[in-house]
Protein backbone atom coordinates (compact mmCIF):
# COMPACT_ATOMS: atom_id res chain seq x y z
CA UNK A 1 0.00 0.00 0.00
CA UNK A 2 1.38 3.46 -0.82
CA UNK A 3 2.42 5.63 2.11
CA UNK A 4 -0.15 8.34 1.50
CA UNK A 5 -2.94 5.77 1.59
CA UNK A 6 -1.82 4.50 5.00
CA UNK A 7 -1.66 8.07 6.29
CA UNK A 8 -5.11 8.77 4.87
CA UNK A 9 -6.63 5.70 6.53
CA UNK A 10 -4.99 6.63 9.82
CA UNK A 11 -6.46 10.13 9.56
CA UNK A 12 -9.93 8.82 8.68
CA UNK A 13 -9.93 6.46 11.67
CA UNK A 14 -8.80 9.18 14.06
CA UNK A 15 -11.27 11.79 12.81
CA UNK A 16 -14.07 9.24 12.70
CA UNK A 17 -13.46 8.13 16.28
CA UNK A 18 -13.16 11.71 17.46
CA UNK A 19 -16.43 12.60 15.74
CA UNK A 20 -18.18 9.51 17.16
CA UNK A 21 -17.09 9.93 20.78
CA UNK A 22 -16.76 13.74 20.75
CA UNK A 23 -20.47 14.26 20.16
CA UNK A 24 -21.27 12.81 23.59
CA UNK A 25 -19.10 15.34 25.41
CA UNK A 26 -20.46 18.59 26.75
CA UNK A 27 -19.44 21.19 24.06
CA UNK A 28 -17.69 23.31 26.72
CA UNK A 29 -15.36 20.49 27.68
CA UNK A 30 -14.58 19.23 24.22
CA UNK A 31 -15.48 19.42 20.60
CA UNK A 32 -15.57 17.24 17.51
CA UNK A 33 -14.48 17.57 13.88
CA UNK A 34 -17.74 18.62 12.25
CA UNK A 35 -18.33 21.36 14.84
CA UNK A 36 -14.75 22.56 14.37
CA UNK A 37 -15.30 22.55 10.60
CA UNK A 38 -18.40 24.73 11.00
CA UNK A 39 -16.45 27.13 13.23
CA UNK A 40 -13.64 27.11 10.67
CA UNK A 41 -15.98 28.09 7.84
CA UNK A 42 -17.42 30.86 9.99
CA UNK A 43 -13.95 32.23 10.84
CA UNK A 44 -12.94 32.14 7.19
CA UNK A 45 -16.19 33.81 6.10
CA UNK A 46 -15.77 36.74 8.51
CA UNK A 47 -12.14 37.10 7.45
CA UNK A 48 -10.96 36.67 11.06
CA UNK A 49 -8.87 33.61 10.34
CA UNK A 50 -7.07 35.10 7.37
CA UNK A 51 -6.26 38.31 9.25
CA UNK A 52 -5.12 36.38 12.34
CA UNK A 53 -2.98 34.03 10.28
CA UNK A 54 -1.28 36.94 8.57
CA UNK A 55 -0.70 38.65 11.90
CA UNK A 56 0.81 35.50 13.42
CA UNK A 57 2.92 34.52 10.47
CA UNK A 58 4.80 37.79 10.21
CA UNK A 59 6.75 37.44 13.48
CA UNK A 60 6.94 33.69 12.83
CA UNK A 61 8.63 34.08 9.44
CA UNK A 62 11.00 36.81 10.65
CA UNK A 63 11.95 35.02 13.88
CA UNK A 64 12.30 31.60 12.29
CA UNK A 65 14.16 32.95 9.27
CA UNK A 66 16.62 34.84 11.47
CA UNK A 67 17.12 31.72 13.57
CA UNK A 68 18.19 29.80 10.46
CA UNK A 69 20.44 32.61 9.25
CA UNK A 70 22.16 32.90 12.65
CA UNK A 71 21.94 29.31 13.91
CA UNK A 72 23.52 27.57 10.93
CA UNK A 73 26.70 29.69 10.67
CA UNK A 74 27.02 29.74 14.47
CA UNK A 75 26.73 25.95 14.66
CA UNK A 76 29.25 25.53 11.84
CA UNK A 77 31.81 27.73 13.57
CA UNK A 78 31.28 26.17 17.01
CA UNK A 79 31.62 22.69 15.55
CA UNK A 80 34.65 23.47 13.44
CA UNK A 81 36.83 25.50 15.80
CA UNK A 82 37.73 24.10 19.20
CA UNK A 83 38.33 27.52 20.70
CA UNK A 84 34.87 28.73 19.73
CA UNK A 85 33.37 25.47 20.95
CA UNK A 86 35.04 25.88 24.33
CA UNK A 87 34.00 29.52 24.55
CA UNK A 88 30.41 29.39 23.27
CA UNK A 89 29.29 25.76 23.41
CA UNK A 90 28.00 25.91 26.97
CA UNK A 91 25.72 28.86 26.21
CA UNK A 92 24.14 27.09 23.30
CA UNK A 93 23.61 23.91 25.33
CA UNK A 94 22.19 25.94 28.21
CA UNK A 95 20.12 28.08 25.87
CA UNK A 96 18.40 25.03 24.48
CA UNK A 97 17.05 24.23 27.96
CA UNK A 98 16.26 27.85 28.78
CA UNK A 99 12.71 28.27 30.18
CA UNK A 100 11.85 30.90 27.65
CA UNK A 101 8.31 31.47 28.91
CA UNK A 102 9.77 32.73 32.17
CA UNK A 103 11.89 35.22 30.27
CA UNK A 104 9.04 36.68 28.24
CA UNK A 105 8.26 39.37 30.86
CA UNK A 106 11.87 40.52 30.68
CA UNK A 107 11.79 40.55 26.88
CA UNK A 108 8.66 42.69 27.09
CA UNK A 109 10.52 45.20 29.25
CA UNK A 110 13.27 45.38 26.67
CA UNK A 111 11.29 45.25 23.47
CA UNK A 112 7.75 46.29 24.29
CA UNK A 113 4.59 44.40 23.46
CA UNK A 114 4.60 44.47 19.67
CA UNK A 115 6.12 42.75 16.69
CA UNK A 116 9.74 42.84 17.90
CA UNK A 117 9.13 40.87 21.07
CA UNK A 118 7.07 38.24 19.23
CA UNK A 119 9.73 37.75 16.57
CA UNK A 120 12.36 37.53 19.33
CA UNK A 121 10.49 34.80 21.19
CA UNK A 122 10.18 32.77 17.99
CA UNK A 123 13.84 33.45 17.20
CA UNK A 124 15.09 32.36 20.63
CA UNK A 125 12.98 29.21 20.66
CA UNK A 126 14.08 28.02 17.21
CA UNK A 127 17.70 29.22 17.26
CA UNK A 128 19.03 26.56 19.62
CA UNK A 129 17.81 23.35 18.00
CA UNK A 130 19.10 24.60 14.63
CA UNK A 131 22.45 25.62 16.11
CA UNK A 132 22.92 22.44 18.16
CA UNK A 133 22.04 20.17 15.27
CA UNK A 134 24.42 21.99 12.95
CA UNK A 135 27.15 21.75 15.57
CA UNK A 136 26.51 18.05 16.03
CA UNK A 137 26.55 17.58 12.26
CA UNK A 138 29.94 19.26 11.92
CA UNK A 139 31.48 16.96 14.51
CA UNK A 140 30.10 13.98 12.56
CA UNK A 141 31.70 14.95 9.21
CA UNK A 142 34.05 12.11 8.23
CA UNK A 143 37.65 13.11 8.88
CA UNK A 144 38.60 11.58 5.55
CA UNK A 145 36.57 14.20 3.64
CA UNK A 146 38.29 17.02 5.53
CA UNK A 147 41.59 15.38 4.59
CA UNK A 148 40.65 15.58 0.92
CA UNK A 149 40.46 19.33 1.40
CA UNK A 150 43.76 19.41 3.25
CA UNK A 151 45.51 17.19 0.71
CA UNK A 152 44.54 19.62 -2.05
CA UNK A 153 45.66 22.56 0.09
CA UNK A 154 42.22 24.08 0.53
CA UNK A 155 42.17 27.02 2.97
CA UNK A 156 40.08 26.63 6.15
CA UNK A 157 37.32 28.85 4.80
CA UNK A 158 37.01 26.69 1.68
CA UNK A 159 36.99 23.47 3.73
CA UNK A 160 34.19 24.96 5.85
CA UNK A 161 32.10 26.17 2.92
CA UNK A 162 32.70 23.45 0.36
CA UNK A 163 33.19 20.33 2.49
CA UNK A 164 31.88 20.81 6.03
CA UNK A 165 28.72 22.70 5.05
CA UNK A 166 27.46 20.23 2.41
CA UNK A 167 28.42 17.24 4.56
CA UNK A 168 26.45 18.76 7.44
CA UNK A 169 23.34 19.58 5.39
CA UNK A 170 21.28 16.57 6.53
CA UNK A 171 21.83 17.58 10.17
CA UNK A 172 21.07 21.21 9.41
CA UNK A 173 17.80 20.26 7.74
CA UNK A 174 16.91 18.03 10.70
CA UNK A 175 17.52 20.98 13.04
CA UNK A 176 15.41 23.26 10.85
CA UNK A 177 12.63 20.67 10.97
CA UNK A 178 12.81 20.27 14.75
CA UNK A 179 12.68 24.04 15.06
CA UNK A 180 9.37 24.28 13.16
CA UNK A 181 7.46 22.79 16.08
CA UNK A 182 9.20 24.95 18.62
CA UNK A 183 8.70 28.07 16.51
CA UNK A 184 4.95 27.43 16.25
CA UNK A 185 4.71 26.97 20.03
CA UNK A 186 6.81 30.12 20.55
CA UNK A 187 4.53 32.10 18.28
CA UNK A 188 1.42 31.20 20.29
CA UNK A 189 3.19 31.78 23.61
CA UNK A 190 4.23 35.22 22.41
CA UNK A 191 0.66 36.02 21.46
CA UNK A 192 -0.62 34.91 24.86
CA UNK A 193 1.88 36.86 26.92
CA UNK A 194 2.38 40.06 24.90
CA UNK A 195 -0.32 41.90 22.99
CA UNK A 196 -2.99 39.32 22.48
CA UNK A 197 -3.14 38.97 18.72
CA UNK A 198 -3.31 36.66 15.77
CA UNK A 199 -4.23 33.01 16.14
CA UNK A 200 -3.38 33.13 19.84
CA UNK A 201 -6.05 35.77 20.30
CA UNK A 202 -8.71 33.58 18.67
CA UNK A 203 -7.73 30.75 21.03
CA UNK A 204 -7.90 32.94 24.16
CA UNK A 205 -11.05 34.82 23.22
CA UNK A 206 -13.02 31.73 22.26
CA UNK A 207 -11.81 29.88 25.35
CA UNK A 208 -13.01 32.79 27.48
CA UNK A 209 -16.42 32.51 25.77
CA UNK A 210 -16.53 28.73 26.29
CA UNK A 211 -16.65 28.39 22.48
CA UNK A 212 -14.47 25.28 22.41
CA UNK A 213 -15.09 24.44 18.74
CA UNK A 214 -13.77 27.84 17.62
CA UNK A 215 -10.84 27.48 19.99
CA UNK A 216 -9.79 24.31 18.20
CA UNK A 217 -9.70 25.98 14.77
CA UNK A 218 -6.39 27.85 15.21
CA UNK A 219 -4.90 24.83 16.95
CA UNK A 220 -5.72 22.58 14.00
CA UNK A 221 -4.59 25.26 11.55
CA UNK A 222 -1.24 25.51 13.34
CA UNK A 223 -0.74 21.77 13.33
CA UNK A 224 -1.57 21.58 9.63
CA UNK A 225 0.82 24.47 9.07
CA UNK A 226 3.58 22.60 10.87
CA UNK A 227 2.96 19.48 8.77
CA UNK A 228 3.01 21.57 5.61
CA UNK A 229 6.24 23.29 6.59
CA UNK A 230 7.81 19.94 7.40
CA UNK A 231 6.87 18.65 3.98
CA UNK A 232 8.25 21.78 2.37
CA UNK A 233 11.53 21.41 4.26
CA UNK A 234 11.73 17.76 3.24
CA UNK A 235 11.24 18.77 -0.37
CA UNK A 236 13.92 21.47 -0.11
CA UNK A 237 16.26 18.95 1.53
CA UNK A 238 15.76 16.58 -1.36
CA UNK A 239 16.55 19.38 -3.77
CA UNK A 240 19.70 20.66 -2.06
CA UNK A 241 21.02 17.25 -0.94
CA UNK A 242 19.83 14.68 -3.48
CA UNK A 243 22.81 12.43 -2.76
CA UNK A 244 21.69 11.97 0.82
CA UNK A 245 18.62 9.93 -0.05
CA UNK A 246 20.86 7.64 -2.12
CA UNK A 247 23.58 6.92 0.41
CA UNK A 248 21.46 6.77 3.57
CA UNK A 249 17.97 5.77 4.51
CA UNK A 250 15.61 2.89 4.95
CA UNK A 251 14.69 0.05 2.71
CA UNK A 252 11.29 0.77 1.26
Amino acid sequence: MPRWAITLISLAVLIGAWEFFGRDINPVFGSYPSAIAVAFVELVRTGQLGAALYESLRPFVVGYGLAIMVGVPLGLIIGRFRVVEAALGIYVTAGYAMPLVALVPLLILWLGLGFAVKASVVFLMSLFPICINTWLGVTAVPKSLIEVGRAFVAPDSVILRRIVLPATLPYIMAGIRLAVGRAVVAMVIAEFFTTISGLGAIIINSANNFDTATMFVPIVVLMVLAIGLNGLIGWVEHRVAPWQAEIAGRDE
Binding site: E147, V148, A151, F152, V153, R162, L169, A241, W243, E246
Partner: protein
Amino acid sequence: MGSVELIDVSKTFMLRVDGAQQTVRALENLSFSVSDGEIVALIGPSGCGKTTALRIAMGLDAASGGKVAVDGVTVIGCGHDRGMVFQHAELLPWLTALENVMFGLEMKGMRGAQLRETAQRYLALVGLQDSGNRRPYQLSGGMQQRVGIARALAIDPKVLLMDEPFGALDAQTRETMQAELIDIHARTGKTILFVTHDLDEAVLLADRVVVMQHGAVQEIMNVPLPRPRGDLEALRGSAAFTETRYRLWRAINATDH
Protein backbone atom coordinates in the same frame (compact mmCIF):
# COMPACT_ATOMS: atom_id res chain seq x y z
CA MET B 1 61.28 16.18 -12.31
CA GLY B 2 59.73 14.49 -9.35
CA SER B 3 61.57 12.68 -6.62
CA VAL B 4 60.58 12.21 -3.03
CA GLU B 5 62.79 11.36 -0.09
CA LEU B 6 61.99 10.41 3.48
CA ILE B 7 65.02 11.17 5.61
CA ASP B 8 65.24 9.75 9.15
CA VAL B 9 61.50 10.10 9.62
CA SER B 10 60.20 9.18 13.06
CA LYS B 11 56.70 9.26 14.37
CA THR B 12 55.63 8.74 17.94
CA PHE B 13 52.21 9.25 19.36
CA MET B 14 50.60 8.98 22.74
CA LEU B 15 48.02 6.36 23.41
CA ARG B 16 45.85 6.14 26.50
CA VAL B 17 45.29 2.53 27.47
CA ASP B 18 43.33 1.85 30.66
CA GLY B 19 44.22 5.25 31.99
CA ALA B 20 47.95 4.84 31.45
CA GLN B 21 49.87 6.90 28.89
CA GLN B 22 51.76 4.82 26.41
CA THR B 23 54.18 6.06 23.82
CA VAL B 24 53.88 4.27 20.54
CA ARG B 25 56.74 4.50 18.10
CA ALA B 26 55.07 4.14 14.72
CA LEU B 27 58.12 5.01 12.65
CA GLU B 28 61.78 4.92 13.61
CA ASN B 29 64.42 6.60 11.47
CA LEU B 30 62.71 5.62 8.28
CA SER B 31 64.64 6.57 5.17
CA PHE B 32 64.06 5.74 1.55
CA SER B 33 63.66 7.62 -1.67
CA VAL B 34 61.70 7.43 -4.88
CA SER B 35 63.46 8.85 -7.90
CA ASP B 36 61.97 10.63 -10.87
CA GLY B 37 59.56 8.49 -12.85
CA GLU B 38 59.97 5.53 -10.57
CA ILE B 39 57.22 3.42 -9.01
CA VAL B 40 57.92 2.31 -5.46
CA ALA B 41 55.70 0.05 -3.36
CA LEU B 42 55.58 0.19 0.43
CA ILE B 43 54.68 -3.21 1.80
CA GLY B 44 54.65 -4.89 5.19
CA PRO B 45 52.37 -6.45 7.78
CA SER B 46 49.54 -4.30 9.10
CA GLY B 47 50.70 -1.99 11.83
CA CYS B 48 54.19 -1.70 10.34
CA GLY B 49 53.67 2.00 9.67
CA LYS B 50 53.41 1.99 5.89
CA THR B 51 50.29 4.13 5.78
CA THR B 52 51.71 6.49 8.40
CA ALA B 53 54.83 6.88 6.24
CA LEU B 54 52.69 7.74 3.22
CA ARG B 55 50.58 10.20 5.19
CA ILE B 56 53.72 11.93 6.41
CA ALA B 57 55.06 12.06 2.85
CA MET B 58 51.77 13.72 1.87
CA GLY B 59 51.85 16.11 4.82
CA LEU B 60 48.56 14.93 6.32
CA ASP B 61 50.44 13.88 9.45
CA ALA B 62 53.47 15.67 10.86
CA ALA B 63 56.65 13.70 11.51
CA SER B 64 58.04 13.73 15.04
CA GLY B 65 61.53 13.79 13.61
CA GLY B 66 63.30 13.81 10.27
CA LYS B 67 62.05 15.37 7.08
CA VAL B 68 60.42 14.85 3.73
CA ALA B 69 61.91 16.36 0.61
CA VAL B 70 60.42 16.68 -2.87
CA ASP B 71 63.05 17.28 -5.53
CA GLY B 72 65.52 17.93 -2.75
CA VAL B 73 63.45 20.68 -1.15
CA THR B 74 62.09 20.02 2.36
CA VAL B 75 58.31 20.22 2.44
CA ILE B 76 56.07 21.03 5.39
CA GLY B 77 52.39 20.18 5.25
CA CYS B 78 50.42 19.38 2.12
CA GLY B 79 51.30 20.82 -1.25
CA HIS B 80 50.28 20.72 -4.89
CA ASP B 81 53.62 19.04 -5.62
CA ARG B 82 52.10 15.83 -4.24
CA GLY B 83 48.80 14.28 -5.32
CA MET B 84 47.01 11.91 -2.96
CA VAL B 85 44.86 8.94 -3.91
CA PHE B 86 42.93 7.67 -0.89
CA GLN B 87 42.12 4.07 -0.11
CA HIS B 88 38.37 4.56 -0.46
CA ALA B 89 38.56 7.23 -3.19
CA GLU B 90 36.96 9.76 -0.79
CA LEU B 91 35.10 11.62 -3.49
CA LEU B 92 32.88 14.45 -2.30
CA PRO B 93 29.43 12.86 -2.56
CA TRP B 94 27.60 16.09 -3.47
CA LEU B 95 29.79 16.74 -6.51
CA THR B 96 29.70 15.00 -9.88
CA ALA B 97 32.73 13.06 -11.08
CA LEU B 98 33.82 16.04 -13.19
CA GLU B 99 33.30 18.48 -10.32
CA ASN B 100 35.35 16.26 -8.04
CA VAL B 101 38.26 16.48 -10.46
CA MET B 102 37.64 20.21 -10.82
CA PHE B 103 37.78 20.63 -7.03
CA GLY B 104 41.47 19.78 -6.86
CA LEU B 105 42.22 22.05 -9.81
CA GLU B 106 40.28 24.94 -8.28
CA MET B 107 42.29 24.58 -5.10
CA LYS B 108 45.38 25.01 -7.24
CA GLY B 109 43.91 28.27 -8.51
CA MET B 110 42.68 27.23 -11.94
CA ARG B 111 39.59 29.10 -13.18
CA GLY B 112 37.45 29.57 -16.24
CA ALA B 113 37.13 27.41 -19.34
CA GLN B 114 40.53 25.85 -18.77
CA LEU B 115 39.26 24.34 -15.51
CA ARG B 116 36.49 22.26 -17.04
CA GLU B 117 38.61 21.37 -20.03
CA THR B 118 41.50 20.08 -17.92
CA ALA B 119 39.21 18.09 -15.63
CA GLN B 120 37.53 16.56 -18.68
CA ARG B 121 40.88 15.60 -20.14
CA TYR B 122 41.95 13.77 -16.97
CA LEU B 123 38.60 12.01 -16.72
CA ALA B 124 39.23 10.81 -20.26
CA LEU B 125 42.70 9.64 -19.22
CA VAL B 126 41.10 7.25 -16.74
CA GLY B 127 38.43 6.25 -19.27
CA LEU B 128 35.51 8.12 -17.71
CA GLN B 129 34.92 10.79 -20.34
CA ASP B 130 31.23 9.80 -20.56
CA SER B 131 30.54 9.58 -16.83
CA GLY B 132 31.45 13.12 -15.81
CA ASN B 133 27.89 13.98 -14.82
CA ARG B 134 27.47 11.05 -12.47
CA ARG B 135 27.70 11.45 -8.74
CA PRO B 136 29.90 9.10 -6.71
CA TYR B 137 26.98 6.90 -5.59
CA GLN B 138 26.20 6.31 -9.26
CA LEU B 139 29.70 4.97 -9.90
CA SER B 140 31.10 1.52 -9.12
CA GLY B 141 33.99 1.20 -6.68
CA GLY B 142 36.50 0.93 -9.50
CA MET B 143 35.07 3.96 -11.28
CA GLN B 144 35.15 5.96 -8.05
CA GLN B 145 38.81 5.16 -7.62
CA ARG B 146 39.49 6.21 -11.21
CA VAL B 147 37.97 9.58 -10.44
CA GLY B 148 40.19 9.69 -7.35
CA ILE B 149 43.22 9.04 -9.54
CA ALA B 150 42.10 11.63 -12.10
CA ARG B 151 41.61 14.19 -9.31
CA ALA B 152 45.13 13.62 -8.03
CA LEU B 153 46.74 13.54 -11.50
CA ALA B 154 44.88 16.62 -12.75
CA ILE B 155 46.79 19.00 -10.48
CA ASP B 156 49.93 17.69 -12.23
CA PRO B 157 51.81 16.80 -9.05
CA LYS B 158 55.47 15.84 -9.10
CA VAL B 159 54.67 12.73 -7.12
CA LEU B 160 51.56 10.58 -6.92
CA LEU B 161 50.97 9.08 -3.46
CA MET B 162 48.51 6.20 -3.23
CA ASP B 163 47.25 4.55 -0.05
CA GLU B 164 46.21 0.98 -0.87
CA PRO B 165 44.41 2.39 -3.89
CA PHE B 166 42.97 -0.91 -5.10
CA GLY B 167 42.69 -2.65 -1.73
CA ALA B 168 38.96 -2.10 -1.47
CA LEU B 169 38.17 -3.41 -4.96
CA ASP B 170 37.25 -6.91 -6.06
CA ALA B 171 39.98 -9.05 -7.62
CA GLN B 172 38.93 -8.54 -11.22
CA THR B 173 38.50 -4.80 -10.97
CA ARG B 174 41.80 -4.60 -9.14
CA GLU B 175 43.60 -6.29 -12.03
CA THR B 176 42.02 -3.94 -14.55
CA MET B 177 43.01 -0.96 -12.46
CA GLN B 178 46.57 -2.21 -12.09
CA ALA B 179 46.87 -2.46 -15.86
CA GLU B 180 45.45 1.04 -16.20
CA LEU B 181 47.87 2.45 -13.69
CA ILE B 182 50.75 0.93 -15.63
CA ASP B 183 49.30 2.51 -18.75
CA ILE B 184 48.89 5.90 -17.08
CA HIS B 185 52.43 5.69 -15.79
CA ALA B 186 53.73 4.88 -19.26
CA ARG B 187 51.91 7.90 -20.65
CA THR B 188 52.58 10.47 -17.92
CA GLY B 189 55.89 9.24 -16.48
CA LYS B 190 54.72 10.22 -13.01
CA THR B 191 56.71 9.30 -9.94
CA ILE B 192 54.51 7.01 -7.85
CA LEU B 193 54.74 5.85 -4.25
CA PHE B 194 52.02 3.45 -3.21
CA VAL B 195 51.13 1.41 -0.16
CA THR B 196 49.87 -2.12 -0.64
CA HIS B 197 49.56 -5.38 1.22
CA ASP B 198 49.27 -7.35 -2.02
CA LEU B 199 52.51 -9.08 -3.07
CA ASP B 200 51.40 -9.51 -6.69
CA GLU B 201 50.53 -5.86 -6.95
CA ALA B 202 53.88 -4.77 -5.52
CA VAL B 203 55.84 -6.95 -7.96
CA LEU B 204 53.70 -6.17 -11.01
CA LEU B 205 53.68 -2.42 -10.61
CA ALA B 206 56.80 -1.38 -8.75
CA ASP B 207 60.40 -0.86 -9.80
CA ARG B 208 61.44 -1.22 -6.20
CA VAL B 209 59.66 -2.55 -3.14
CA VAL B 210 60.31 -1.15 0.33
CA VAL B 211 59.59 -3.85 2.90
CA MET B 212 58.74 -2.35 6.26
CA GLN B 213 58.67 -3.92 9.70
CA HIS B 214 58.09 -2.25 13.08
CA GLY B 215 58.27 1.24 11.61
CA ALA B 216 61.62 0.79 9.88
CA VAL B 217 62.89 -0.37 6.51
CA GLN B 218 63.56 -4.09 6.57
CA GLU B 219 64.75 -4.40 3.04
CA ILE B 220 64.56 -2.60 -0.26
CA MET B 221 64.17 -4.97 -3.17
CA ASN B 222 64.62 -4.31 -6.87
CA VAL B 223 62.04 -5.78 -9.19
CA PRO B 224 63.94 -7.03 -12.24
CA LEU B 225 60.99 -6.88 -14.62
CA PRO B 226 61.37 -4.84 -17.82
CA ARG B 227 59.55 -1.59 -18.54
CA PRO B 228 57.17 -0.91 -20.16
CA ARG B 229 55.09 -3.66 -18.62
CA GLY B 230 52.37 -3.64 -21.18
CA ASP B 231 51.00 -7.12 -20.78
CA LEU B 232 50.47 -7.78 -17.09
CA GLU B 233 48.78 -11.09 -17.80
CA ALA B 234 51.83 -12.50 -19.55
CA LEU B 235 54.00 -11.06 -16.83
CA ARG B 236 52.09 -12.94 -14.15
CA GLY B 237 52.97 -16.19 -15.86
CA SER B 238 56.64 -15.37 -16.29
CA ALA B 239 59.39 -17.03 -14.30
CA ALA B 240 60.86 -13.65 -13.35
CA PHE B 241 57.58 -12.66 -11.72
CA THR B 242 57.23 -15.89 -9.79
CA GLU B 243 60.80 -15.76 -8.62
CA THR B 244 60.59 -12.10 -7.52
CA ARG B 245 57.30 -12.69 -5.76
CA TYR B 246 58.85 -15.58 -3.86
CA ARG B 247 61.84 -13.51 -2.83
CA LEU B 248 59.50 -10.76 -1.62
CA TRP B 249 57.37 -13.25 0.27
CA ARG B 250 60.47 -14.56 2.01
CA ALA B 251 61.63 -11.03 2.85
CA ILE B 252 58.29 -10.24 4.45
CA ASN B 253 57.99 -13.52 6.29
CA ALA B 254 61.57 -13.40 7.49
CA THR B 255 60.56 -10.37 9.49
CA ASP B 256 57.33 -11.79 10.72
CA HIS B 257 58.12 -13.49 13.97
